[in-house]
């Protein structure tokens, strides 16, 4: 299975969509938001808050991009070819999930490093550890949603659905602009989105607060929903692969 993960990671790193949406865009947006004075509040606070938002946004981008890759693989007959090797279907699915989980690392790292090196964000070691862990582990629900779309939809449609979902969740979840500026009804929706809950865990950590119980519960709820969705998509794809 490690061979499969290695192959998939090589393919990700050569994927323009992954590099642009998952790594470059979030860094560029982070620099724009923080240096054009668009982000609200104190300069360091803004740099810190937006760093978390953009790392979360990049992580979403690469998690969903991984899911779109599944649809591409299906269209290319690659999943069928894999079924004809000694790899078990469970190994293939697990390999793809691990690829998704590892694939978000450069996205998160790029924005956090920009935060430190360019915007001089300072945090305690414990806070850094917390933020990295929360940003990383928290991508699992999005990886699963992306995979579900990848299994269920055909190549082009899956890529479009994943891009739209990623942008929708980023915007409504308050990753681009803080939900504090939202009208009341939109803020109410935002608080139920997985993306807002995901980023909020790290915003709390950055502010030195413990993770919110409500946000944890919402994110775990979505984890279950998207896990079931990915399983459903996989089963359906298995019948036609």
């Amino acid at each position: 299975m490690s061979g499969y993960i290695r192959l998939e990671l090589i393919r990700s790193l050569r994927d323009g969509g992954y590099i642009v949406f998952g790594v470059i865009m979030p860094v560029v947006m982070y620099l724009l938001f923080t240096n054009l004075g668009i982000a609200p509040g104190d300069k360091h606070d803004a740099a810190l808050f937006t760093m978390v938002s953009m790392a979360a946004y990049g992580a979403l981008g690469s998690a969903f991009n991984n899911g779109s890759g599944i649809a591409e693989d299906r269209a290319a007959g690659w999943l069928r070819q894999l079924r004809l090797t000694p790899l078990t279907p469970a190994q293939v699915v697990a390999g793809k999930v691990v690829t998704g989980v590892l694939g978000v690392v450069p996205s998160i790292a790029a924005v956090l490093l920009t935060g430190v090196l360019v915007n001089h964000v300072t945090l305690t070691a414990a806070q850094w550890a917390q933020i990295v862990a929360l940003l990383w582990v928290g991508t699992v629900p999005f990886s699963l949603l992306g995979l579900g779309n990848g299994y269920r939809l055909s190549g082009q449609t899956a890529a479009m659905a994943n891009l739209a979902t990623m942008l929708g969740l980023s915007i409504v979840g308050g990753l681009w602009l803080p939900t504090a500026n939202f009208p009341g009804w939109l803020r109410a929706i935002a608080e139920w989105t997985p993306s807002n809950s995901y980023a909020a865990l790290s915003w709390h950590a950055a502010a030195g607060e413990p993770p919110g119980l409500r946000q944890t519960a919402v994110l775990v709820g979505w984890l279950i929903v998207f896990g079931l969705y990915a399983m459903y998509g996989y089963r359906r794809a298995g019948k036609t692969a």
């Binding site: 061979g3 499969y4 290695r6 192959l7 090589i10 393919r11 050569r14 994927d15 591409e72 693989d73 290319a76 007959g77 690659w78 069928r80 070819q81 079924r83 004809l84 090797t85 000694p86 790899l87 078990t88 692969a241």
Partner: protein
């Protein structure tokens, strides 16, 4: 002799199409077998069931005496489906290294590249290869694990003559290792030249099964032409004759026993402008897979 692959009374229906209709075949180890049939005959369905990709509606598919999936997991099988498997953003070397390492005792990479004539292309991206080159990569994936059986579904479809020749050269290289090979084709010359045995499939059933020589003999393969005058229906009753066609004063007889037919014509004093043409597999194929299909199967049973 150990059986590498078998289908036993298998049926498979897609909507209203019966892609397999009581299909039974058995392939012993070490044979190179061609599944020959026109498009839509059920070749790919038969292969899909043998590989465990498609569950049969009824009947049994097995590889090495067990479930196909088990043989695949054990790495005893390599396969080249009709299409697919060429993915973006990897080199030939990376792809084949990955595939071979999923098997317990793969061929060394250099050997795989050499057998598939890919050595010079090892560092090229697989999605930037020509059709023939990509096909050889797909072939290489099938042999990478050094499996006991390889199954190739129309490996040369859509290839030009040169690319086809290269692929068959690669396949013979692998066959020399004593492996079992099953391939499907609708190119008759390929079945004739490459296989020890030809199984003709049509409408989801086995229409004939034998060496290509036997297949030809089965189906009135030889054509005898003579010039006749007057009433000529009696020609159809001559020994060996299974078909008669009259065009003006020219009679075309199809015969399963050309010698007997010619002797009978001579006795009747009817040898005029005689012309005897041993048919190629193309004729056999057409006869077997059109209206004559049931009689082909029947003939086979008589001979067996």
């Amino acid at each position: 002799m150990e059986i590498a692959a078998s289908l036993t009374d298998v049926t498979k229906t897609f909507g209203v199409t019966r892609a397999a209709d009581g299909l039974t075949l058995s392939i012993p180890r070490g044979q190179t077998v061609a599944l020959l049939g026109p498009n839509g005959a059920g070749k790919s369905t038969a292969i899909g069931m043998l590989l465990g990709l498609l569950p049969p509606d009824s009947g049994t598919a097995s590889l090495f005496g067990g479930a196909p999936e088990r043989a695949v997991r054990q790495g005893r099988v390599g396969a080249m489906p009709q299409e697919g498997g060429i993915i973006a953003r990897v080199t030939v070397r990376e792809l084949l290294t990955f595939v071979s390492r999923t098997y317990r005792e793969p061929l060394p990479l250099d050997r795989i590249l050499a057998l598939a004539q890919l050595t010079a292309l090892a560092d090229r991206r697989v999605d930037r290869l020509s059709g023939g080159q990509a096909q050889r990569v797909r072939f290489a994936m099938a042999i990478a694990g050094d499996p006991e059986l390889i199954v190739l579904d129309e490996p040369t479809a859509a290839l030009d003559v040169e690319a086809r020749r290269e692929l068959w050269a690669s396949m013979r290289g692998f066959a020399e290792r004593g492996r079992t090979i099953l391939f499907s084709t609708h190119y008759l010359d390929e079945a004739d030249e490459q296989a020890d045995r030809v199984i003709v499939i049509n409408r989801g059933r086995v229409a004939a099964d034998g060496t290509s020589t036997e297949i030809k003999r089965l189906v009135a393969a030889t054509t005898v032409r003579v010039t006749v005058s007057g009433e000529a229906a009696w020609l159809g009753r001559l020994p060996g004759v299974t078909g008669l066609e009259i065009n003006g004063d020219r009679a075309t007889l199809r015969s399963t026993d050309a010698d007997a037919t010619v002797v009978a014509l001579a006795r009747a004093g009817a040898v005029r402008d005689i012309e005897v043409t041993p048919a190629d597999l193309e004729d056999a194929f057409v006869a077997l897979t059109t209206a004559a299909a049931p009689s082909g199967a029947a003939l086979l049973k008589e001979n067996a």
